[in-house]
Amino acid sequence: MINPFEIMQTINMIDKENLDIRTITMGISLKSCADPDLKAMCGKIYDKITSYAKDLVKTGEDIEAQFGIPIINKRISVTPVSNLIEALPSPTVADCVEIAKTLDRAAKTTGVNFIGGYSALVHKGYTNAERVFIESIPEALASTDIVCSSVNVASTKAGINMDAVKQMGEIIKKSAELTADSSGFACAKLVVFANAVEDNPFMAGAFHGAGEGECVINVGVSGPGVVKCALEKVAGEDLGVVAETIKKTAFKITRMGQLVAMEASKRLNVPFGIVDLSLAPTPAVGDSVAYILEEMGLQQCGAHGTTAALALLNDAVKKGGVMASSYVGGLSGAFIPVSEDAGMISAAKSGALSLEKLEAMTCVCSVGLDMIVIPGDTPASTISAIIADEAAIGVVNTKTTAVRIIPAPGARVGDTVEFGGLLGTGPVMKVSRLDSGEFISRGGRIPAPIHSLKN
């Protein structure tokens, strides 16, 4: 029989330390749904999603009951919708919004809590359809509930499309204005990427990439609370011991993710794609990435040393997780979404954590500036400049970076904005008042860095 100590350890992790599977995400290719007739295309999209994912939620719940592991979210990611728009003879914004509404309806029918893939990849340039598609994002997000959107504006291979960067600053502002009554909630469903990954199961940035198969199951694990509790037991030990402890814990968490992924794939008869080894926080006390950094000995997240501590954490999570799963992918690392992390929220409120420090942290974490609320009167060009900085970090360091920022209409520094649920509470953070407008309005493309020339 299995060792009772190990059984009790697992139960403790689930009961007291918030261990969970964050998401089972089914990736569905919509390539076969492209059609020059909008109505026919919407019909095909609805039918395909509702038939492929009809058992997704039920299967997730069954696994949850039998293994006693909480599975928080069941989600769907689809082929970037901008690719489908290409099939329409002369696409309009209204056509794009119609497709977004179809996705929303299909996702609600299956019972999932988010659908991602209202996306475009324009890191090198736009097609005519993509230009129209990106214009449609604010209205699409404002008129749907659970559709998530992402736009890739840069890659290490292609450089940074500064025209797209400029446009995305405006799109974010417009999205916030259209949903002013909910403090710009649409922006919480919109991510601007550099080096976007094709198999990420986490929202809002999930989409089913061009190189993916017909249908696939990806699983995202979580468990910052478990790592924090494991570190409490090695208080005072040197950082080598800290890294080793994180690795061992990440291994166990990932094994659970792998088990759930294999089981879901078998039951749904859909190939298993990847396990994403991310430590994703939630606003629940005890489920915070910031608390892990503080457990390492920082007075508060944001203190000098935070970047080093985060780098150690991010690397150890990957090293521990990589042996535990046969296929690792997605973003895999530690997330630092400010409004979704109790420790980050309090650090931002007390002034310990600034936007500048967060930017430094994104050089070593798995994604980027995530769920950050900024004053509503921030100019679009400043938002574009924030995106450009993040994209540059991603492009030069050959990593994924992202910006999910909410210029909450009417909000000022010091206010807090309530999003509810997993999206949490965002303190409004200070943004530099210096003008970046002229730099952004130059447009064009920042060339790919020298180290992208590997062939």
Binding site: I2, P4, I7, A65, F67, R255, L259
Partner: protein
Amino acid sequence: MKAVITVIGKDKVGIIAEVSGFLAKKSVNILDISQTIMQDMFCMIMLVEFRDDDTVISDISGQLTELGKRMGLSIHLQREELFQSMHRI
């Protein structure tokens, strides 16, 4: 399929009787039991065997949680593979 049932809570008369009686009614076979008292806390781990049927195991899992609530205990039912995969290479 095999599963592990854990029962944790304050020790009192009749815990084993109640849990094993419930399992007997549901025709679940108990393969092994280990039990200790740690600082007044009752801790029981049972290895049980089920018919390979999804609905049965989900159903019993829910009813055990209910039983636990009634008795002031925390009762979990989890398939054995979970522990094997987390703790064995």
